[in-house]
Symmetry: C2
Subunit: 417 residues, 2 copies
């Protein structure tokens, strides 16, 4: 018997048949004796329709009105799931963000959760054994009394915040994959599902393209130490024994992982473009002169590599930007040429970033060096390297992406037996 948060996404709630399947998952946990708070997204497609209507209404629309419109999708699924649960004999009620309330700041369209009131949920668990069905993705800005939304994938964040508020033993994220893998199984058939992954590792895996969970929800889990469990929504509810350990990946504090691997996973992204600025004047303030204008243009810069100047006067500086921003980034730098001072800009869009992630790297030397050697044996040229405490990334020609990922996956012993 424990408190449990169960989160279901839009594809799991696409129609009444899917909603009934979700309800059976919930009923299973309730019957196992758990106190359950369910967090739901909108029906798949519903949010897109609502967003499209807002776009048709006006290209530049008031974000507060946008939020009022799009939040209606979760309102519908929360009510319908509560109805289905009651029809199955489970005492349940729906909660909108403003009813609980889930308080947020007023950054409409991408609001951040400030506080979740879990007291009423706990009282209803204790006194009425009542299951809560909570509309994800939405909240309330207290001062204005207006509906806010958390942005794409916000229901994950809602679920983790609610889990923290009610002190849930676990926050189960039901999704269309059955867990977090060592890398993309479509690229490496031998990819293994991880039983456990540390928050810090998951943050790197998520932000680097393993799109299982929204980054913010993992951050929130890390701050409040909420154990997040990624599992499949397609498993038949009847086939699952709620008293046995479930099958999936637990995202948890690194202290909970007894046998820490050196490397946990390999992420990759082809959505990269490389820009190299040649013979930049090596003087104070030059980095600010380059990256200031890029930030002003809302261009996200990722890897930055600057070598120590060889001649004491000029240096080369390389960085990556999202592929879609490549031309805009070049133009921005070209415009700032007088302030920066450089010879020319080189660039490439056919590049990929491969990242190797593992908390164990902290205590193991030579982890990256092994990779450089293995890649060179495969004749894969490394364009740039960045490192941090728990990961390193290399930028290579995009054509070698799959080969590089498979090579590193084997190298670090991640292949399934």
């Amino acid at each position: 018997m424990a408190r449990l948060v169960m989160k279901f996404g839009g594809t799991s709630l696409a129609d009444l048949d899917h909603i009934r399947n979700v309800a059976r998952h919930v009923k299973r946990e309730v019957e196992a004796g758990h106190d359950v708070a369910v967090v739901v997204s909108a029906m798949s497609g519903a949010t897109n329709q609502l967003v499209e209507w807002c776009r048709q209404a006006a290209m530049l629309h008031d974000a507060r009105e946008y939020d009022a419109v799009v939040a209606s999708g979760e309102q519908v699924t929360a009510g319908l799931l509560a109805i289905v649960l009651e029809g199955m004999g489970v005492n349940a009620r729906s909660w909108q963000g403003w009813q609980l309330p889930i308080l947020t700041d007023n950054a409409h369209g991408s609001a951040r959760i400030l506080d979740v009131n879990g007291a009423e949920l706990i009282r209803r668990f204790n006194e009425h054994k009542q299951t809560a069905v909570i509309a994800g993705f939405q909240g309330l800005h207290k001062e204005t009394g207006r509906i806010t939304t958390l942005g794409r994938g916000g229901s994950d964040t809602s679920a983790v915040a609610i889990a923290a508020a009610i002190g849930a033993e676990r926050c189960d994220i039901y999704t269309d994959v059955d867990g977090v893998y060592t890398t993309d199984p479509r690229v490496v058939p031998k990819a293994r599902r991880l039983d456990k992954v540390a928050f810090e590792e998951m943050l790197e895996l998520a932000s680097l393209g393993a799109k299982v969970m929204q980054v913010r929800s993992v951050e929130l889990g890390m701050v409040h130490n909420v154990r997040i469990f990624v599992r499949s929504s397609f498993a038949k509810p009847e086939d699952i024994d709620s008293k046995a350990p479930p099958s999936g990946t637990l995202i948890c504090d690194e202290g909970d992982i007894v046998e820490q691997q050196v490397v946990t996973g390999i992420a990759f992204s082809k959505d990269e473009a490389q820009i190299s600025i040649r013979r930049v004047e090596d003087k104070p303030g030059v980095a600010a002169a380059i990256f200031g204008p890029l930030a002003d243009s809302n261009i996200n810069v990722d890897m930055i590599v600057q070598n120590v100047s060889a001649d004491g006067a000029t240096t080369d500086l390389t960085f990556t930007v999202p592929w879609a921003d490549y031309e805009r980034a070049r133009a921005t730098i070209e415009k700032a040429k007088p302030a920066i001072g450089f010879e020319r800009i080189d660039g490439a869009t056919d590049v990929a970033k491969i990242s190797v992630i593992g908390i164990g790297m902290r205590s193991h030397a030579g982890v990256a060096a092994k990779a450089f050697k293995a890649l060179s044996e495969r004749k894969i040229n490394i364009r740039a390297i960045t490192t941090s405490e728990i990961k390193f990334s290399v930028l290579i020609d995009a054509a070698y992406t799959e080969l590089a990922v498979r090579t590193l996956h084997s190298l670090y012993g991640l292949d399934r037996a």
Copy 2:
């Protein structure tokens, strides 16, 4: 310059093009200097879809969850209209029922409005010239904090309640007809649009089948003396001069109608069935023995005719029920035969009720007698008659409905010149 409520139904908000048309109507009034509160229904079809989902979720569903689901339709149109208005340069914001709030009792699915807080709307009119776009049909039950809905046609009631709360000069109901007619123009091509109709008359016209407005909204208008103006939503906004008297029908206090007609309109309904109980024992409590079981079965009894007993021992008793409840009503009476005591039941489903309505009847004698004579000249047999202060109704064979309506329409001088 006045405060104005403008209400638009689902067919006027069916898609973004329709919503833009509604916005132009609103902009016209704002530019004429009025402070405007707009009340909207859901997009046509949206509510039906939501209701259908609830039905699929469970045949017997919790009315509180049903309300949470179906209220989402108005939330969407309110937000979208606010966005479109702002895109046209009109300062506007949307309001959900719970935000204003519109407080109701907790009769979920058919809640009654208890209180509307108009103070914030008035403050925003005065300080920001801000137009309010309010989701109709929905409210909040204060004690439970849950969303309620007012039942079909509830947006009319929302509009009138808001008009009362802000002291609006007029509540404009934009609908797919351009006003209230003396009778159904499809039956009587010479039917005239009424410039004015008294609340009491409108109540009879509405409940008797002239389906322009929900009865409760007219009652509310009568209680709070809100001038309700029925007008067309299909007129081009650009063709209307907001400073000239608009075209439509004003529903108002009878004191505001200078030249009161004796008869205002003719209503009719074919949705009737007649049941006659023959040789009922004429004893105290017999009416209760008949109508008690019918009420228990939720069967609405309309006309009731009981003659004074001729033999002092038994009498005939006739009443009407909705056509759909005819068989159920007969079975109910048959079952109660021992308690009632009668010889047999006769009945007919091919009957129609024709009603003649007019406040002027109060002060004019012989109004009904004229009708009986005219109908008999047309060989139309009258099965039953009931009368009240401002109307009388006759039950006739359904085949003569159109003939009877046209005859009475001419008789009372209602034909268009």
